[in-house]
């Protein structure tokens, strides 16, 4: 491509509504343009990257045996009524009526449509397994679209849906997709983690999120650098930090701690490690026609409550925090100095796994300005119910026993999910099994946010000059910047020759023949983020040299004219793993 025949629309300033770096840079590089809130044009330079992501996704989905089809954007309400989501889905589901006053939705996802296909087309176990996927434009009416393509309303997704005759089949289909996703994000050139996600609220039985690692990510991820373990902080198992409980060494002692209601203040006041203190959290669950059950959850002073794990404990589904009145009624004191000793009315005590192995610890006394030190299970308190109720923190042991956890931030770009029979049950997608008996199909769903990948790639790869594209999804792999294309025959001839050579080698190259000044030219291509740049000027040519600079290189390297093409082709191929 020659730049004079292309459309480049870089901007000096990002618009005011662009809050995050990928949004700013995609606007400034002219990749996207806003049409309405969360709705964008993909300009030619942006679409090139979109298409490269799509091509990689398509290749790997095909390699994994998935079959591409195309379902409609506009879906009849009847299907959503059958699945129950017509009622369940909130206002993010864009609903409208056609000219005949029939209800439709703009599809934010296609479980209903694909299940409708499966129940119509699949009659026998002999037709299973099958995995249908599409790369398609979706719409989700976000209440506050923002962050450019990261949280848009109209976006491109790859969504795949597997159908199996039994759970083993589903597990195998799921594994294939998991492996395809690993190949996809590896090929795209992103640092990522497959994260075991909490899936309690969606009703499936297995799920991983694929996160691109970036400081600006929305999600906290716990991962083990020395193993494959990664999970959302909310979902990661927190192991006991104390292997075995030590024998009591201190006497129980009521200690004045005036004004020290928080663990940190108590530790400072008593000059003890925070790890000796206990955080008491009081929850309530309703009992119809009777007073609520009051729960005391005990965490080590430096830990925090995990509400998802807590909500899954027997009896704690739908819990709430206790009111001040309840706390006074059960503990005889307002919040601040609460503890398990001498409660006014009985409470159910749950100790975090770590707390359960502690000894000689400090709790509130249920009396303002007093704590009790030297507390021990079994001696001063009955043995507690034990559960994992805390968030993991950096330094925790990895649940797989193969190292220590780190915490990082990630941007979710993919999701694989075992749906089981949720949709095949509600929509009647059954097949005849080997015995001629109807059985519901086991489904999985697998999404990749194609346009979101671009944003995530930028959040992971940028500097103060602009985007730094991984080769595989760069709008162009190489840019040739001739100094004086219109003035110097030598420069023009060399630039054209190199351009032709690189094109023949299958390199996606752009020749900047716009006649811009070098400063403008360099700034444009650094902003756009083309990974390899070659500068051709009369001065260098006199010595038979060109200038090469990788987008991450601090400075340029001189290359002999005759070797330049080989060097650059080698660099691009190496980066693409070819």
């Amino acid at each position: 491509m020659k730049a004079s025949r292309f459309f480049i629309g870089t901007l000096k300033e990002a618009p005011a509504d662009a809050e995050i770096v990928s949004h700013k840079l995609m606007m400034r590089a002219g990749m996207i343009r806003r049409v309405a809130g969360g709705i964008y044009d993909y300009m030619p330079i942006g679409l090139r990257s979109v298409r490269k992501v799509e091509a990689i996704v398509r290749e790997e989905m095909n390699r994994a045996g998935a079959l591409e089809l195309l379902m409609p954007a506009v879906q009849p309400a009847e299907l959503w009524q059958e699945s129950g989501r017509w009622e369940q889905y909130g206002p993010e589901l864009l609903r409208f009526k056609d000219r005949h006053e029939r209800d439709f939705v703009m599809g934010p996802t296609h479980e209903e449509v694909v299940t409708d296909i499966a129940r119509r087309e699949i009659k026998s176990y002999r037709q299973l397994p099958v995995n249908f996927y599409q790369i398609q434009t979706k719409f989700r009416d976000e209440i506050r679209p923002r962050f450019g393509v990261m949280r848009g309303r109209e976006f491109i997704m790859k969504d795949a849906y597997s159908f199996d005759k039994d759970f083993d089949g589903l597990a195998e289909s799921y594994r294939k997709m998991y492996e395809a996703y690993v190949r996809i994000f590896t090929r795209i050139g992103l640092e990522f983690r497959a994260v075991a996600a909490d899936n309690g609220s969606i009703g499936g039985s297995g799920s991983h999120e694929f996160h691109v690692i970036a400081d600006t990510g929305e999600d906290d991820i716990a991962y083990c650098p020395s193993s494959e373990f990664a999970a959302n902080v909310e979902a990661a198992d927190a192991l006991p930090l104390i292997a075995q409980r030590a024998a009591p060494a201190e006497e129980l002692k009521k200690t004045p701690t005036p004004g020290a209601a928080k663990c940190e203040a108590v530790a400072q006041l008593l000059n003890i490690p925070l790890e000796k203190t206990i955080k008491s959290i009081v929850l309530a669950t309703e009992n119809e026609g009777a007073e609520p059950t009051i729960w005391l959850l005990m965490l080590r002073g430096d830990h925090s409550l995990n509400d998802i794990k807590t909500g899954k404990l027997p009896g704690l589904k739908g819990y709430r925090f206790a009111t001040e009145a309840e706390i006074i009624e059960w503990f005889g004191t307002p919040p601040g100095y609460l503890g398990p000793l001498n409660t006014k009315k009985p409470v159910r005590v749950i100790a975090d796994r770590t707390v359960a192995n502690m000894s000689d610890f400090v709790v509130g006394t249920n009396e303002v300005d007093y704590h009790t030190t030297g507390v021990n299970w079994g001696r001063d308190l009955p043995e507690p119910e034990v559960a994992d109720i805390r968030n993991v923190v950096a330094g925790d042991p990895s649940p797989d026993g193969r190292g220590t956890l780190e915490i990082c931030r990630g941007i979710e770009v993919g999701h694989v999910f075992q749906l089981g029979t949720k949709y095949s049950d509600s929509m009647g997608a059954t097949f005849l099994d080997e015995n001629g008996k109807p059985a519901p199909m086991q489904m999985g769903c697998y999404g990749i946010g194609v346009t979101r990948v671009l944003g995530a790639a930028i959040e992971q790869n940028f500097d103060d000059r602009g985007i730094i594209w991984p080769e595989a999804i760069a709008p162009f792999e190489v840019v040739i910047c001739p100094m004086g294309y219109d003035r110097s025959d030598a420069v023009r001839e060399q630039a054209d020759k190199l351009y032709a050579t690189l094109q023949q080698a299958g390199i996606d190259v752009i020749l900047d023949d716009r006649g811009e000044r070098p400063g403008v030219m360099f700034a444009d291509w650094e902003l756009i983020g083309v990974p390899h740049r070659i500068v051709i000027g009369d001065r260098g040519l006199k010595e038979g040299k060109l200038e090469y600079q990788g987008r991450r290189d601090a400075e340029a390297t001189l290359l002999p004219v005759d070797e330049a093409a080989d060097v650059v082709v080698g660099k691009v191929r190496a980066a693409l793993g070819k």
Copy 2:
């Protein structure tokens, strides 16, 4: 692709709502499935053909210098209000509100969005010309969607929009698109015609429709087999069929024609050729505050009125047919025996070009049951106003003077259109010209109905066994049908070997390893329309032979096993023009 890993869903019967052959065959071949009225799933086998059309379109658009981008499906109402089409467009424009009660439309076309891009991005004549295109899903809320993908509601279109600094530039952009379209439809392998369309109602200044020729087409096309001329029947110039008016030879004579109100009856009764009779058509145009003008249009008895040409004549814009009361008032008689002689009140007479050169013709006498024969211009009637007011018919001279017209039916699959400044004026898309003065951009728009092309291709290419795909858009180019893939080692080995050889040669081949009976296998692939079939069986292999049959061949040909691959590769490449 091996069929056992693919998804084939052929049907014995088409659904009852499928009225035309392409709809029936696409359903039966399992290419599409209905989701709602005019809304379809493209199943894997159907999507393969869609993608092949898209790839050809994309290649030729790129070759023509157009730049691919992607505009959103969901568009804000504000843009349509600016262009005026928010009011003008009927209920085919699907309108809806988002969760914030803002108005949006599902784009049936993208003039507004692309003009919005142009006015934002293009500041100077130096950025022109530019041509943006996309391949994108559109929605048109047809009142009665039907005919499968031929008149669906959700469909895929390629739409391109050119921007030029002046009309010469537009003409050049238009020419490039015209030539690209010729290449596209030629490569797809369809018999087509570029048809000069009537464009009066849309307001542009130049337009061609690309029609696939098929007996089932909706449009009548006049074309000249010995030249490039083609036009909608409504738009084709009708030349005088009589070169020069002969001198009068008969006397004017009032002749009884009892009960013969129509030209055909008059000709039969008087035993004269229909070509001697005149059809009188009475029109009216309103005059504010005064009585209407009454027009008498004279056509040869065997011709028909062209209302588009008529409506363009001076004074006849917005004409209507005269009422019976008006006819009685102006002609002194009810409809049936009308003519230009002895009208009761003055009427404006317009003679068709052919009628103007007739002599000794027959007209009504304005008296029930009487005609007048031997009528001549100049002698019995003043010389008339002359105009082209008729539809051409087969046998007419081609307006380009290079042969005789034929009439055929066509299916519109593409449209190129010179918009001029319609949108750049209403939406303020101006640029600074060479003199620093703002000027409106000259626009063209260019559409191809990607999914419609599939329907049209089938309407042109089918038989009673199914679809006959042109190689370029067939879901597979070649099918290998082994007889006993699971039973015979020899058959399986030969089939696998041929499959591998064809794949290596770049042939899009499917191996039917499903284990179906030969009858089912052959019926499926004939229905699906794969253009080349190879049958491998033990009997043939014993003699070192395979069976080859082209989809249009009456019977199979035996090929030596070792030559089969070369022969088939040769046939596919020849068909693709490679």
